[in-house]
Protein backbone atom coordinates (compact mmCIF):
# COMPACT_ATOMS: atom_id res chain seq x y z
CA UNK A 1 0.00 0.00 0.00
CA UNK A 2 1.53 3.33 -1.03
CA UNK A 3 1.86 6.38 1.16
CA UNK A 4 -1.13 8.24 -0.30
CA UNK A 5 -3.51 5.30 0.19
CA UNK A 6 -2.33 4.85 3.78
CA UNK A 7 -2.96 8.54 4.38
CA UNK A 8 -6.47 8.26 2.89
CA UNK A 9 -7.45 5.29 5.06
CA UNK A 10 -6.00 6.92 8.15
CA UNK A 11 -8.02 10.07 7.42
CA UNK A 12 -11.22 8.01 7.10
CA UNK A 13 -10.54 6.23 10.39
CA UNK A 14 -9.85 9.54 12.13
CA UNK A 15 -13.07 11.03 10.73
CA UNK A 16 -15.08 8.02 11.97
CA UNK A 17 -13.55 8.23 15.44
CA UNK A 18 -14.14 11.98 15.52
CA UNK A 19 -17.76 11.48 14.44
CA UNK A 20 -18.30 8.91 17.20
CA UNK A 21 -16.76 11.22 19.79
CA UNK A 22 -19.03 14.05 18.58
CA UNK A 23 -22.09 11.81 18.98
CA UNK A 24 -21.04 10.80 22.50
CA UNK A 25 -20.52 14.47 23.42
CA UNK A 26 -23.94 15.21 21.94
CA UNK A 27 -25.60 12.57 24.10
CA UNK A 28 -23.71 13.80 27.17
CA UNK A 29 -24.82 17.40 26.57
CA UNK A 30 -28.45 16.68 25.67
CA UNK A 31 -29.35 14.08 28.29
CA UNK A 32 -29.50 16.31 31.39
CA UNK A 33 -31.21 19.10 29.41
CA UNK A 34 -34.15 17.12 28.08
CA UNK A 35 -36.36 15.77 30.86
CA UNK A 36 -39.90 14.84 29.95
CA UNK A 37 -42.17 11.84 29.56
CA UNK A 38 -40.86 11.38 26.07
CA UNK A 39 -37.33 12.10 27.21
CA UNK A 40 -35.83 9.14 25.44
CA UNK A 41 -37.01 10.23 21.98
CA UNK A 42 -36.06 13.89 22.38
CA UNK A 43 -32.77 12.94 24.03
CA UNK A 44 -31.84 10.86 21.04
CA UNK A 45 -33.07 13.52 18.60
CA UNK A 46 -31.26 16.44 20.18
CA UNK A 47 -28.14 14.43 20.88
CA UNK A 48 -28.04 13.40 17.25
CA UNK A 49 -28.49 17.01 16.12
CA UNK A 50 -25.78 18.18 18.54
CA UNK A 51 -23.46 15.46 17.36
CA UNK A 52 -24.00 16.34 13.72
CA UNK A 53 -23.45 20.06 14.41
CA UNK A 54 -20.24 19.35 16.34
CA UNK A 55 -19.04 17.04 13.60
CA UNK A 56 -19.86 19.58 10.87
CA UNK A 57 -18.05 22.38 12.71
CA UNK A 58 -15.02 20.15 13.25
CA UNK A 59 -15.07 18.96 9.64
CA UNK A 60 -15.35 22.51 8.28
CA UNK A 61 -12.48 23.65 10.50
CA UNK A 62 -10.28 20.78 9.32
CA UNK A 63 -11.16 21.62 5.73
CA UNK A 64 -10.37 25.30 6.22
CA UNK A 65 -7.05 24.40 7.84
CA UNK A 66 -6.17 22.04 4.99
CA UNK A 67 -7.04 24.67 2.35
CA UNK A 68 -5.04 27.31 4.20
CA UNK A 69 -2.03 25.03 4.39
CA UNK A 70 -2.17 24.21 0.68
CA UNK A 71 0.48 25.94 -1.35
CA UNK A 72 -1.12 25.62 -4.77
CA UNK A 73 -4.48 26.20 -6.46
CA UNK A 74 -5.22 22.61 -7.51
CA UNK A 75 -8.90 21.70 -6.98
CA UNK A 76 -9.90 18.69 -4.91
CA UNK A 77 -12.79 17.65 -7.15
CA UNK A 78 -13.20 17.40 -10.89
CA UNK A 79 -15.20 15.42 -13.47
CA UNK A 80 -13.49 12.13 -12.62
CA UNK A 81 -14.15 12.60 -8.90
CA UNK A 82 -17.83 13.24 -9.51
CA UNK A 83 -18.08 10.21 -11.80
CA UNK A 84 -16.51 8.05 -9.08
CA UNK A 85 -18.94 9.41 -6.49
CA UNK A 86 -21.94 8.74 -8.73
CA UNK A 87 -20.73 5.21 -9.50
CA UNK A 88 -20.18 4.53 -5.80
CA UNK A 89 -23.70 5.80 -5.01
CA UNK A 90 -25.20 3.62 -7.75
CA UNK A 91 -23.43 0.53 -6.42
CA UNK A 92 -24.49 1.35 -2.85
CA UNK A 93 -28.11 1.73 -3.96
CA UNK A 94 -27.94 -1.53 -5.86
CA UNK A 95 -26.49 -3.46 -2.91
CA UNK A 96 -29.00 -1.90 -0.50
CA UNK A 97 -31.92 -2.90 -2.70
CA UNK A 98 -30.48 -6.39 -3.09
CA UNK A 99 -30.31 -6.78 0.68
CA UNK A 100 -33.87 -5.44 0.90
CA UNK A 101 -35.11 -8.06 -1.55
CA UNK A 102 -33.41 -10.85 0.42
CA UNK A 103 -34.95 -9.47 3.64
CA UNK A 104 -38.40 -9.49 2.03
CA UNK A 105 -38.10 -13.17 1.19
CA UNK A 106 -36.78 -13.95 4.66
CA UNK A 107 -39.65 -12.02 6.30
CA UNK A 108 -42.30 -13.63 4.14
CA UNK A 109 -41.17 -17.10 5.18
CA UNK A 110 -40.45 -16.16 8.83
CA UNK A 111 -43.99 -16.84 10.04
CA UNK A 112 -44.02 -13.75 12.31
CA UNK A 113 -47.42 -12.02 12.28
CA UNK A 114 -47.18 -8.45 13.57
CA UNK A 115 -48.29 -5.11 12.12
CA UNK A 116 -44.75 -3.68 12.19
CA UNK A 117 -43.34 -6.67 10.36
CA UNK A 118 -46.14 -6.35 7.83
CA UNK A 119 -45.33 -2.72 7.15
CA UNK A 120 -41.67 -3.58 6.85
CA UNK A 121 -42.60 -6.26 4.35
CA UNK A 122 -44.59 -3.70 2.30
CA UNK A 123 -41.72 -1.19 2.43
CA UNK A 124 -39.08 -3.70 1.41
CA UNK A 125 -41.33 -5.07 -1.34
CA UNK A 126 -41.58 -1.52 -2.67
CA UNK A 127 -37.78 -1.23 -2.65
CA UNK A 128 -37.47 -4.55 -4.43
CA UNK A 129 -40.04 -3.43 -7.03
CA UNK A 130 -38.00 -0.28 -7.59
CA UNK A 131 -34.89 -2.37 -8.24
CA UNK A 132 -36.78 -4.57 -10.67
CA UNK A 133 -38.11 -1.52 -12.51
CA UNK A 134 -34.60 -0.02 -12.65
CA UNK A 135 -33.21 -3.25 -14.08
CA UNK A 136 -35.98 -3.43 -16.70
CA UNK A 137 -35.41 0.19 -17.75
CA UNK A 138 -31.65 -0.39 -17.86
CA UNK A 139 -32.11 -3.49 -20.00
CA UNK A 140 -34.45 -1.65 -22.40
CA UNK A 141 -31.90 1.13 -22.87
Amino acid sequence: MNKEKKKEYLTLVIIQIFFSICMVIGVWIAKPIIESEQGDFWTIFFSAVTGIVLFSVGFLYLRWYKLKKRKHNVPENDERTFNNIINAMAWSAFLFLLICSISVFALSFSGIQQIEVGWLYVYLSGMWGLLLLQMIIGKLR
Binding site: V74, D78, E79, R80, T81
Partner: protein
Protein backbone atom coordinates in the same frame (compact mmCIF):
# COMPACT_ATOMS: atom_id res chain seq x y z
CA UNK B 1 -10.06 -0.21 -29.59
CA UNK B 2 -8.47 1.54 -26.61
CA UNK B 3 -7.69 5.24 -26.71
CA UNK B 4 -4.02 5.98 -26.17
CA UNK B 5 -2.71 9.43 -25.28
CA UNK B 6 0.74 10.95 -25.37
CA UNK B 7 0.09 13.54 -22.71
CA UNK B 8 2.97 12.48 -20.47
CA UNK B 9 5.52 12.67 -23.26
CA UNK B 10 4.32 16.09 -24.45
CA UNK B 11 4.14 17.39 -20.87
CA UNK B 12 7.70 16.31 -20.10
CA UNK B 13 8.89 17.70 -23.42
CA UNK B 14 7.45 21.10 -22.53
CA UNK B 15 8.81 20.89 -18.97
CA UNK B 16 5.40 21.15 -17.28
CA UNK B 17 4.85 19.54 -13.90
CA UNK B 18 1.65 17.72 -12.98
CA UNK B 19 0.87 20.28 -10.30
CA UNK B 20 1.24 23.18 -12.75
CA UNK B 21 -0.92 21.40 -15.30
CA UNK B 22 -3.54 20.65 -12.67
CA UNK B 23 -3.59 24.31 -11.59
CA UNK B 24 -3.86 25.58 -15.15
CA UNK B 25 -6.60 23.17 -16.22
CA UNK B 26 -8.34 23.11 -12.82
CA UNK B 27 -8.33 19.33 -12.53
CA UNK B 28 -6.86 17.13 -9.82
CA UNK B 29 -3.36 15.75 -10.03
CA UNK B 30 -4.81 12.25 -9.60
CA UNK B 31 -6.86 12.73 -12.77
CA UNK B 32 -3.72 13.67 -14.69
CA UNK B 33 -1.97 10.55 -13.39
CA UNK B 34 -4.97 8.39 -14.35
CA UNK B 35 -5.06 9.87 -17.87
CA UNK B 36 -1.31 9.45 -18.38
CA UNK B 37 -1.49 5.82 -17.26
CA UNK B 38 -4.39 5.23 -19.70
CA UNK B 39 -6.72 4.32 -16.82
CA UNK B 40 -9.13 7.15 -17.55
CA UNK B 41 -10.32 8.73 -20.79
CA UNK B 42 -10.99 12.47 -20.45
CA UNK B 43 -14.36 13.89 -21.39
CA UNK B 44 -14.71 15.78 -24.66
CA UNK B 45 -14.54 19.09 -22.82
CA UNK B 46 -11.34 18.15 -21.01
CA UNK B 47 -9.84 16.69 -24.18
CA UNK B 48 -10.42 20.00 -26.00
CA UNK B 49 -8.92 21.89 -23.05
CA UNK B 50 -5.86 19.65 -23.25
CA UNK B 51 -5.52 20.33 -26.97
CA UNK B 52 -5.67 24.08 -26.36
CA UNK B 53 -3.27 23.81 -23.43
CA UNK B 54 -0.56 21.93 -25.30
CA UNK B 55 -1.35 23.58 -28.66
CA UNK B 56 -0.88 20.37 -30.63
CA UNK B 57 -3.09 18.65 -33.21
CA UNK B 58 -5.47 16.00 -31.94
CA UNK B 59 -3.70 13.12 -33.65
CA UNK B 60 -0.54 13.99 -31.76
CA UNK B 61 -2.32 13.85 -28.42
CA UNK B 62 -4.80 10.98 -28.83
CA UNK B 63 -4.94 7.90 -31.01
CA UNK B 64 -6.96 4.76 -31.37
CA UNK B 65 -4.88 1.67 -31.11
CA UNK B 66 -6.25 -1.66 -32.37
CA UNK B 67 -6.21 -4.44 -29.76
CA UNK B 68 -3.74 -7.25 -30.39
CA UNK B 69 -5.40 -10.62 -31.01
Amino acid sequence: MPVINHIREIRLEKGITQVKMAEDLQITRQTITAIEKHKYNPSLELALKLLNYFDVPIEELFELRSERK
